[in-house]
Amino acid sequence: MLNLRRHENANRFFDYNILVKLSGGVLFYKKNLIQLSLATILAFSAVANASNQTSGSTSTLPVCAYIASYAPGYAWQDGITRGIEQSLKGKCRLKTFYMNSKKVFDYQKMEKIALYAVEFIEQNKPDVVIVSDDNAIKYVLKDHYKESNLPVVFCGPNHTITQYQLPYPNTTGMIEKDPTERLLKLLFNLTPSKTHVTFLTTRGISADKDVAEFHRLVKKIGIKSSAYQIQNQEDWRRIYKQVQEDPTTDIIFFSNNVAFKEWDHEENMKWVLKHNHKLSITTQGWMMPYVALGMNKAPDEQGHWAGEAAIEILNGIQPSQLSIVPSQKFQMLINPKVAMPFKQQLPENIFSHASTYNARGSQ
C-alpha cells in the first residue's frame, strides 16, 4: 500500500516538473522551435497521463506504459490508442506518452523526444511497455530497450521490422502489413488482362519502404508496374492526370498524402473527378475520397493485439514465445462517386461485399 502511494506521489511530482518545464519553455526559449515542440509533447503527455490517472481507479493493477509515436487526433494513432485502451481496460493501469513525431524529421529531435519517453517509462516503472509505430520502435525500443529485461510489445511498424534488428528476446508485436497483395490479387482475378499498376506515393522513410515493398510485391506476383514518389500537391495533380491518361496503366495505386505540406481537398477532388479514367485503389484510409476501391488496415487491430499481448506477458508468457504476426484484418471500401464509371467492369460482389465509403465518416 505504501509503495503504491509513493508511485502516485511520484506521478504527481513528475506532472509538476513537466508543467514547470512547459512554462520554462514558453518564457525562456521562445524562439527555439525544438523547445516548443518538446513543450507541446509534454503537454500532450501530461493531459494523457492525467486522464489515465483518473481512469485508473484500481491501483492494484499492474502498470502498462504506452509510448505512441504520434499525437491524439491523428486517426491512425487514435485507432491504435483505442484498441490498446479497450484491451487493457480493467487489467492494467495504462500510462501513455505521445511522442507527437509526425512532423519531426530531425534525428536529434527524435532522440530527445525518445529520452523523455524513456524518462516517462522509468518514472512509471511499468510491468510492460507498448510502443506503436516506427518512430517509437526505432528511437525508444531499439535505442533504449533492445534486449533489456523490460518486456516491450510493438505495433504499427510498416511492412517489416528487420531494419530494427527485431525481434529481440524481450519483444513481440504486430507488423502493419498493407493488404496490397490481397487487393491486387483480387483485381487481377477479376481482370487478368489489366494488370499494370502505377504506384503513387510521397517521399520519406515510410514512402521509401512503401515503394520497396511495392516493387517486391509486383516482382513476386510478376506484373508490370510503375512507381512515382511525388514532392507536393501540384506534382501529384500532374502525375495523376498523366497516369490517368497513360494507356499502359491499368490500375492506379495510391499511397498516402501525409507527407505533403499542403493538400487542397476540394481542388484535388475536382481534379480527380475530372480525370477519373482508370480504376484507382488504395490501402490508406485517408486516400479513399480520391479512389474507387480501398482495402484498409484497421489501426484498432494493432492496438488490440498489442494490448492482448501485454496481458499475456503480464500473465507470465515470455514475449519471445508470442509470435510476431502481420496485420490480419482489412476492410474493403468502395467510393461510389469515383467508382461509378467502372461499375460495369467490376463484379456485383465488389459492391455487395465492400462497405460504402462515407466521406464524412472518413473525415
Binding site: P167, I175, R182, E308, Q321, L322, S323, V325, P326, S327
Partner: protein, 930 residues
C-alpha cells in the same frame, strides 16, 4: 377434561410406550426409505446427467471431427493454397460455443525446405517464424523424422494462440504415430497434451490434409499426397468443466483425471468440490461417481467425477412431509386398529357377557324366530321346563303353552300355530318395546308354571327374532297371596287384623248405614303377667286359645260377624243384629269361655277378660268412634274389677275426661307443693314399739280437691310422671330421716312405695343412694316397698336389681303379697327382707279360715326364707292379737294409726312414747305380753 392416549384409547403406560416405540421405528423406516428414495433419485439424476454429459462429449467430438473433415476437405479443394482463405473458412467454423477452440494448420516441411517455409512466412509478416520445438508441450521430444510438421496458421489468431505458430508437432511422438494412423484411416485422431505454459491438459485433434481427396487415394497415394494436418486444440479441463457445468453444479463436484498405472501417472485433481460437510457427511460419505475416458476410444486417461451426497442435498420438505404423512398414517392406522380391536373386544366381551347372562340367568331365556320356533334355549329354561337344549331347539314355543296331545289332536295349522304364539304372548299388539305378559306354561311333566314372560323383538341380520325372558313366578304368586293374607289377618290367631277389620266395618257402615251391630272391645286381664312370668310363647299360645274360644263362642251367632285381633291382648268383635241384651248375653258367653282353665304345655292358666261394648248407631256413627267408646267401656270394666263387660254410656266418657284433667294437674303438682306424705306407723307386734312408718302420698289439688293415690298413681305411672313424683317422695323421706337423726326417732325406718316404672328406671337407685349418702343416714332406715306385681314383673331382671338394693343396705319389702302370682322359685331367689300380708287376707282374721290359712302360710313361708312379715290393714284389736299369736312380726293399720302427716305423727309418737302399747292399748299389750 384432560385428554390423553390413556383416556382416549384406554391404553396402559406400557402399551403407550410400545405404541410410541413402534411409531418411532416406522417413522425411522419411512424416513430411511425417503432418504433412500432421495438418494437413488439423485443418483439416477446424476447418472442421467452423466449420460447427457457423455453424449454431449461425443457430440462435441463428432463436431470436432466434422470441423476437421470440413477443413481438410477445404484445404484439399483449394487449387491455389491460400492461408488467408483457409483462415477465413476456419474462422467461419468457430462460434461462441467454441471460443476456446483453436483451429490450426500444420504443414509437413521436409528438413531441406525448412528455410523456404520460414522465408515465406517471414514475407507474410510472420517475422519470428522459425520452425522449432519450444517445449510448449511436456510430451515434446526430439524430432527424429525427416520432416517437420510446422504450424503455419492459427485461427483465431490472438497473441495467446500465436504461441503455436511455427511449433513442430512431429516433436511429439504420439502425434507421429497418430498421424501415421490417420493417413491410413483418414479419421480424426486425438491426443491429450500437457501445456507447459498453462500447465493444463489440452486436447489435440487432427486430420491429415491431402492434395486430393483421400477417398480416392490408396494408402501409398495418401502417403505421397499428404501435406500436413488440420487440427483443433482445446483446453481439456475447461471444455470438460464447461460441459459438466451444463449438467451439474460444478461446486458440488470433485473432478480428477485418472491415468492408468502402467503409464506411471497418478490422479490429477482438477476440481475439488466446495460442499460443506457436516459430521454425518464425513461419517457416512455417500457419493456418486462416474468414470469416462477423456477421449473416445482412449482408455488410458479417464475422467473421474465424484459428487458427494450430503445433508444439504436432502429435500427436507419431502422428509418432513414424509414424516408427517407417516405419522398421520400411523396414527390413523393405529387408531383404526385400536378401534377395531376395542370394538372386537367389546363385542367379544358383550358376547361373553350375553352368553354368561344367558347361561347364568335366573330366568329361562328362549329365543325364537318370528314363527315361534325355538332358536336358543338357556340352562335355566332346561331347569324350568325339563327339556334339554337339543330337545327344545326348532320346536314350536306353543308346545310350552298347550299340552302336546292337545296340539296334535287339534291339528293346528302352521298359520294357526303362529297366531297362537302371537296371541299368547300379546305379540299382535306389540309396539316395539319390551312387554311383560303373565302366562301359565307347562313343563315336561305337564306341571303348570305361572310365569312372567318379557318379550322383545330382535332384529338379527334383517330377520325378526323374539326373545322370551321367562320368570317362574309360581312361588311369587303364592307368596303374594300369603302376604296379602298377612296384610289383613293376624298371623298368630288367623283372625282379621285391625286394618281389615276397620275397612270391613267401614264398608258395612257405608253400604248398610241402617244396620244395627255391636262392637266389642275385649282386653285380657292379667295377660301381661302371663307374658312376663311364663314367656311370650306361652302368651302367644294363650292368645291363640282365646281366639279359638271367641270363634267358638260366636259360631252360633250367625254370619256377618268380624273378629279381629286388635293388638296385643286386645280383641275387637263386630256382631251383627245386636242390641244391648244380645250384647250382654254374648259378653257373658265370651267371659265364660275365656275364664275356663287353659292348659298350655305344662302350665294351667286361667285368665279373664274385660269387655267394653258400643252399639251402632247409638254409640257412634263411624268405626273410630265406636272403637273409642268400646275401649272406654272396656276400661270401665277394668275399673269395675275386670272379668266383666260394660256397655258404653256417656258417663264413661266423662271418667276419661277426668283422667285427662288429673294428668294435667298432676304435671304441676310437685312445683305447686300439692303433694304431701302421710306416714302410717308400723309397730313390733311383740313389743308394741314403733319401728318405722310407711310413707303414703297424698295429693290435694286446689281445683280437683283431694285425689286418692289409687286414682292418680296409675295415671302417673302411665305418663311417667311417677319418676319425678318418686324422686320427690325419696327426697322427702330422706329429709324426714335426716330430721329424725339425733332424735328419739332416729331408729325409725321409712317404707317408701316404689312403682315398677321407678324400679326399672336406670338412675333411680343411684339417685336414692346418693341422697342417703349426702344425708349421712344409715341405709337400712329406708325401705323400698314394691307391690307383688312389680316384683314378679321381669322377675329375672329384678333379681339383679334387688341384689343391688340389698347390697347398698336398703330394706326391701313386698306389698300386697298374696294378691298376685308369685313364683315360689323366684321368691326364693329374691333377697327380700319383709313380706307384707295384704289387707284382704287380714280382714277375715280371726273369723275366716281361708284368710287365717293364707296368713299362716305366708308367715311360714316368710319365716322359712328368713323374711319378716308386716300385716297390713290391722283395723281391730282381734286382728292384732291374732297376728301376735301367729307370730307375725310387724303390723300397721287403722287400729294402730291411720296415716298421719308429719306433725300429727310426731304428736302421735310423743303421746305414745313411740310405743303403741304405751297408749290406750297399753293394757292390752301388757295383757298380751303376759
Amino acid at each position: 377434561m384432560k385428554l390423553s392416549l390413556h383416556t382416549i384409547f384406554e391404553l396402559s403406560k406400557k402399551q403407550i410406550i410400545a405404541w410410541c416405540f413402534v411409531g418411532l421405528i416406522i417413522l425411522c423406516v419411512a424416513l430411511a426409505l425417503e432418504l433412500s428414495q432421495q438418494f437413488h433419485q439423485d443418483k439416477r439424476f446424476f447418472h442421467d446427467q452423466t449420460h447427457k454429459f457423455i453424449h454431449q462429449q461425443n457430440i462435441q467430438q463428432k463436431q470436432s471431427d466434422t470441423v476437421l473433415s470440413a477443413l481438410s476437405e477445404y484445404y484439399t479443394a483449394q487449387v491455389i493454397k491460400s492461408q488467408t482463405d483457409f483462415k477465413l473458412f476456419a474462422n467461419g467454423l468457430l462460434n461462441k460455443d467454441t471460443k476456446q477452440r483453436v483451429i490450426g494448420l500444420a504443414l509437413i516441411t521436409p528438413r531441406n525446405k525448412k528455410q523456404l517455409l520460414e522465408s515465406s512466412q517471414f514475407e507474410k509478416g510472420y517475422e519470428s517464424f522459425l520452425i522449432s520445438n519450444t517445449q510448449l508441450f511436456e510430451e515434446q521430444t526430439n524430432n527424429l523424422q525427416h520432416a517437420f510438421l510446422a504450424v503455419t496458421s492459427i485461427t483465431p489468431l490472438t497473441p495467446k494462440n500465436s504461441i503455436y505458430l511455427s511449433e513442430d508437432l512431429f516433436s511429439i511422438p504420439e502425434v507421429v504415430s497418430k498421424f501415421t494412423a490417420s493417413i491410413k484411416s483418414n479419421q480424426t485422431q486425438s491426443i491429450i497434451l500437457t501445456n507447459r505454459l498453462s500447465e493444463q491438459l489440452q486436447t489435440l485433434s487432427f486430420q491429415p490434409i491431402f492434395l486430393n481427396s483421400p477417398d480416392h487415394l490408396n494408402h501409398a497415394q495418401r502417403l505421397k499426397q499428404v501435406r500436413g494436418i488440420v487440427f483443433i486444440i482445446e483446453p481439456t479441463k475447461d471444455i470438460l468443466l464447461h460441459n459438466l457445468n451444463q449438467h451439474f453444479s460444478l461446486e458440488t463436484l470433485s473432478i480428477s483425471f485418472k491415468v492408468t498405472p502402467d503409464l506411471s501417472l497418478e490422479n490429477i485433481p482438477v476440481l475439488t468440490n466446495k460442499v460443506s460437510r457436516s459430521f454425518l457427511d464425513n461419517f457416512v460419505q455417500p457419493k456418486f461417481t462416474f468414470k469416462t475416458p477423456l477421449l473416445q476410444g482412449h482408455t488410458t486417461k479417464k475422467l473421474v467425477v465424484t459428487q458427494p451426497w450430503t445433508v444439504n442435498d436432502l429435500n427436507t420438505t419431502a422428509l418432513i412431509v414424509t414424516g408427517l404423512l407417516t405419522l398421520f398414517g400411523y396414527l390413523t392406522l393405529t387408531t383404526i386398529i385400536i378401534t377395531i380391536v376395542r370394538y372386537t373386544q367389546n363385542l367379544r366381551q358383550m358376547q361373553n357377557r350375553l352368553s354368561q347372562i344367558l347361561e347364568t340367568s335366573q330366568d329361562a331365556v328362549i329365543i325364537t324366530d318370528e314363527n315361534g320356533l325355538i332358536l336358543d334355549w338357556n340352562p335355566e329354561a332346561k331347569l324350568l321346563f325339563g327339556y334339554s337344549k337339543a330337545e327344545a331347539l326348532n320346536q314350536p314355543i306353543i308346545s310350552l303353552i298347550f299340552p302336546e296331545d292337545t296340539l296334535s289332536s287339534t291339528q293346528v295349522s302352521h298359520d294357526s300355530s303362529i297366531n297362537f304364539f302371537a296371541d299368547s304372548l300379546n305379540l299382535t299388539s306389540f309396539n316395539g318395546e319390551a312387554q311383560k305378559t303373565e302366562i301359565t306354561l307347562r313343563n315336561q311333566k305337564g306341571t303348570l308354571i305361572t310365569t312372567e314372560v318379557a318379550t322383545s323383538f330382535l332384529n338379527v341380520r334383517n330377520t325378526i327374532e323374539v326373545s322370551l325372558f321367562i320368570k317362574d313366578i309360581t312361588y311369587q304368586r303364592s307368596t303374594e297371596e300369603a302376604m296379602t293374607k298377612m296384610a289383613f289377618f293376624d298371623p298368630l290367631t288367623q283372625l282379621e287384623n285391625r286394618t281389615f277389620f276397620k275397612t270391613a266395618v267401614e264398608k258395612i257402615i257405608t253400604k248398610t248405614p241402617d244396620k244395627k251391630f255391636a262392637l266389642f272391645f275385649m282386653d285380657l286381664d292379667g295377660f301381661k303377667q302371663v307374658n312376663d312370668t311364663l314367656g311370650h310363647s306361652v302368651g302367644d299360645e294363650l292368645l291363640k286359645v282365646v281366639a279359638k274360644r271367641i270363634q267358638n263362642a260366636l259360631r252360633e251367632s250367625g254370619e256377618g260377624n268380624h273378629i279381629c285381633r286388635f293388638g296385643g291382648d286386645e280383641f275387637v268383635l263386630m256382631l251383627d243384629q245386636m242390641d244391648e241384651v244380645k250384647a250382654a248375653q254374648i259378653s257373658l258367653r265370651l267371659l265364660n269361655q275365656i275364664e275356663r282353665m287353659i292348659k298350655i304345655q305344662n302350665d294351667e292358666l286361667q285368665v279373664s277378660a274385660s269387655i267394653g261394648i258400643a252399639l251402632y248407631p247409638q254409640h257412634g256413627e263411624n268405626v273410630d268412634t265406636l272403637l273409642r267408646h268400646a275401649d272406654t267401656a272396656m276400661y270401665c270394666s277394668k275399673d269395675l274389677g275386670k272379668n266383666t263387660y260394660s256397655i258404653y254410656n256417656d258417663a264413661m266418657e266423662e271418667d276419661l275426661a277426668e283422667r285427662i284433667l288429673i294428668e294435667k294437674h298432676l304435671r304441676n303438682a310437685i312445683q305447686k307443693n300439692e303433694l304431701t306424705l302421710a306416714y302410717q306407723p308400723q309397730i313390733n307386734l311383740r313389743t308394741g314399739k314403733v319401728i318405722g312408718v310407711e310413707a303414703l302420698i297424698r295429693w290435694n289439688n286446689p281445683v280437683l280437691g283431694f285425689i286418692p293415690p289409687d286414682k292418680f298413681i296409675p295415671i302417673a305411672e302411665e305418663t311417667q310422671l311417677i319418676i319425678n313424683i318418686g324422686e320427690w317422695i325419696a327426697q322427702t323421706c330422706i329429709n324426714q330421716l335426716k330430721t329424725w337423726k339425733h332424735t328419739p326417732f332416729s331408729h325409725f325406718h321409712i317404707a317408701m312405695n316404689v312403682s315398677g316404672v321407678q324400679l326399672e328406671h336406670p338412675h333411680f337407685l343411684e339417685y336414692v343412694n346418693k341422697l342417703m349418702s349426702n344425708a349421712d343416714i344409715h341405709k337400712h332406715l329406708l325401705e323400698i316397698e314394691l307391690t307383688e306385681r312389680t316384683v314378679m314383673n321381669n322377675a329375672d331382671d329384678n333379681i339383679h336389681r334387688f341384689n343391688q338394693i340389698r347390697a347398698k343396705g336398703f330394706g326391701l319389702s313386698v306389698d300386697d303379697f298374696g294378691t298376685g302370682y308369685s313364683s315360689l322359685s323366684y321368691l326364693k331367689k329374691f333377697p327380700l327382707s319383709i313380706l307384707k300380708i295384704d289387707k284382704s287376707f287380714v280382714d277375715g282374721i280371726p273369723q275366716d279360715e281361708e284368710d287365717i290359712s293364707i296368713a299362716t302360710a305366708i308367715l311360714n313361708l316368710a319365716h322359712s326364707l328368713n323374711m319378716q312379715v308386716v300385716a297390713e290393714g290391722v283395723e281391730t284389736q282381734d286382728q292384732l292379737q291374732y297376728l301376735q299369736q301367729l307370730d307375725c312380726n310387724f303390723a300397721q293399720g287403722y287400729f294402730i294409726s291411720r296415716p298421719l302427716f308429719i306433725k300429727d305423727l310426731e304428736v302421735w309418737l310423743q303421746r305414745n312414747q313411740a310405743n303403741f302399747y304405751q297408749s290406750e292399748y297399753k293394757q292390752l299389750a301388757i295383757h298380751t305380753d303376759a
